[in-house]
């Protein structure tokens, strides 16, 4: 082979200057081509990176779907194949209410969320009749994660196919620019599959975990949907502890819980402060499990629960303290890391300090642990 090439080269090399001219022309031509097609080449390079990501996301979302179906079959023992039901769930959507006239939107959102929650709960019961309450909640969470992965996949695929069709560098750029951030969220969601499948405590569970440490050994009562509260004496005060009902995966309805407890206290006015503990996103560079104290309603989500808490606290005009346990987005729904587990003890000390420093003996203090209580009982 090489001999043949060398012979050919020798023959061609005879007309040295001609070949030189050809090569020179080709070389100049490639520069001119690059001059005009640089953007197209760039678009192709970016499209390729998007494609690599898309493949990865596809594997992850298929895994999410597979695990969800497997779990439904395993713990739910349905009579028929749950695959079509799971697929139907993965395509589910919620239309957010019109916000051009925002008055009353909280009520609309609340009703919408309640309807979807109750419907999904009933559907999970129907497709997994043998599952316990805890398992049913975990299945709901798992389906939620699979739903999110499916949505990410479809969004990336949309931009990829649109970009491929139009070869428009700006369309491709839109998805390419945010790809690292989306990938971080997808990886976080994929870590949730393992946690939700097995019912492990997750990073978001730090709030309920702190509260459960105080609640342990005391009787708790239901105060709202999937939400429990316990009255616990501490240093002459009474702590009203509120968290989602575990150990099934649930965030409960802390807004309704806080509103009810503060409402019941309307006449006596014994509650003198509200303390909320929640997981908070950390900035790059901040250590995992760092505790920060502040003011306001420490709660994420759509905003309905936050609104209810703010309204209830405003009506009573009492101070609201917040304790944030810092964590990366990749920790929020992944199995609890040791740093965060240890941070709950530090947060507990913060709660105790705020109670002793900022309230009097005989006061009632409402302490709410916000987050998903999966794997954490009370």
């Amino acid at each position: 082979m090489i001999n043949v090439i060398l012979q050919v080269a020798q023959v061609l090399g005879g007309e040295n200057s001609d070949i030189g001219m050809i090569l020179q022309t080709l070389f100049s031509l490639s520069f001119i081509i690059y001059l005009f097609y640089a953007q197209r080449i760039q678009a192709m390079t970016m499209l390729r990176q998007v494609e690599v990501t898309l493949r990865k996301v596809k594997t992850i979302k298929d895994e999410g779907r597979r695990v969800a179906i497997e779990m439904v079959k395993e713990v739910g023992k349905p009579e028929r194949d749950p695959t079509p039901d799971v697929d139907r769930f993965l395509e589910q959507f919620v239309i957010s209410p019109v916000s051009m006239d925002p008055a009353g939107i909280m009520g609309k959102l609340d009703q919408l969320i309640n309807v979807s929650d109750y419907t999904n709960e009933a559907e999970v019961k129907a497709i997994a009749p043998q599952a316990t309450e805890t398992e049913a909640h975990n299945i709901e969470n798992l389906l939620g994660a699979a739903h999110a992965l499916n949505y990410y996949y479809k969004a990336i695929r949309h931009f990829y196919l649109l970009g491929k069709k139009t070869m428009n560098v700006y369309i491709i750029m839109q998805i390419h620019m945010i790809l690292p951030l989306i990938m971080k969220e997808i990886e976080a969601t994929s870590a949730a599959i393992q946690a939700f499948r097995n019912g492990m405590p997750i990073g978001d569970g730090v709030g309920p975990l702190v509260v459960s440490k105080l609640m342990r050994g005391h009787e708790s009562v239901d105060v709202a949907r999937e939400t429990v509260a316990a009255w616990v004496p501490y240093e002459g005060r009474t702590l009203i502890l509120l968290k989602a009902k575990g150990p099934g995966g649930s965030v409960g309805k802390p807004g309704d819980g806080v509103a009810k407890i503060l409402g019941d206290d309307k006449k006596e006015k014994k509650i003198k402060a509200v303390i909320m503990i929640d997981a908070a996103g950390k900035l790059e560079g901040e250590p995992v499990g760092e505790i920060a104290e502040g003011f306001g309603a420490a709660i994420g989500g759509v905003g309905v629960e936050k609104y209810k808490i703010e309204e209830a606290v405003k009506a009573r005009n009492i101070p609201m303290y917040a304790i944030a346990i810092k964590q990366d987005i990749s920790h929020v729904i992944a199995p609890l890391v040791e740093e965060l587990y240890k941070a709950t003890d530090t947060a507990l000390e913060s709660v105790k300090r705020i109670v002793t420093e900022r309230t009097q003996e005989g006061d009632y203090v409402l302490v709410a642990g916000i987050g998903n209580t999966m794997g954490i009982a009370q």
Binding site: I5, A9, F27, L161, G199, G246, P335
Partner: protein, 139 residues
């Protein structure tokens, strides 16, 4: 049904025979021009060698680029993280502490297996991920 529809929409871009053919053609061309370059260098017209050498080098770097790109696609297996999770058990009576692997159905404050030292039942007091030694210095 859902899967097949999606599979057909993403056409394959990994190492196909066309890519291989292009690589081979460019390779031969680059090799040839490099050889020509060295020939010219030792001949009476050394100024011509620059173009040959440049073309050859560009050709080879293009091959390298294409090769690593396709390799990156084919060898990169998507990783779905699986982490080690441990359960911490404590005996309320004798304060014996034990750590074992997480079992499905474990949750914090669950009355679990009987204590190995006394009669009481052990209670799960903690569940967390096992610390990964390789990730520690990353902070």
């Amino acid at each position: 049904m859902l899967m097949t529809e999606q599979n057909t929409q993403i056409s394959s871009m990994s190492m196909s025979w066309t890519t291989l053919a292009v690589i081979v053609v460019i390779g031969i061309f680059s090799l040839f021009s490099l050889w020509m370059g060295f020939q010219a260098l030792s001949s009476d017209k050394p100024e011509q060698s620059t173009y040959y050498l440049l073309t050859g080098t560009v050709g080879f770097s293009a091959i390298g680029y294409m090769f690593f790109r396709t390799k990156a696609v084919t060898t990169r297996k998507p990783d779905i993280p699986k982490v080690d999770v441990v359960t911490i058990l404590e005996c309320p009576a004798c304060e014996l502490k034990r750590v074992r692997d997480f079992k499905r159905g474990d949750y914090i404050y669950k009355d679990d297996e009987p204590c190995t030292r006394c009669e009481a039942n052990m209670v799960i007091t903690g569940i967390h991920r096992r610390a990964e030694p390789e990730k520690k210095p990353k902070k």
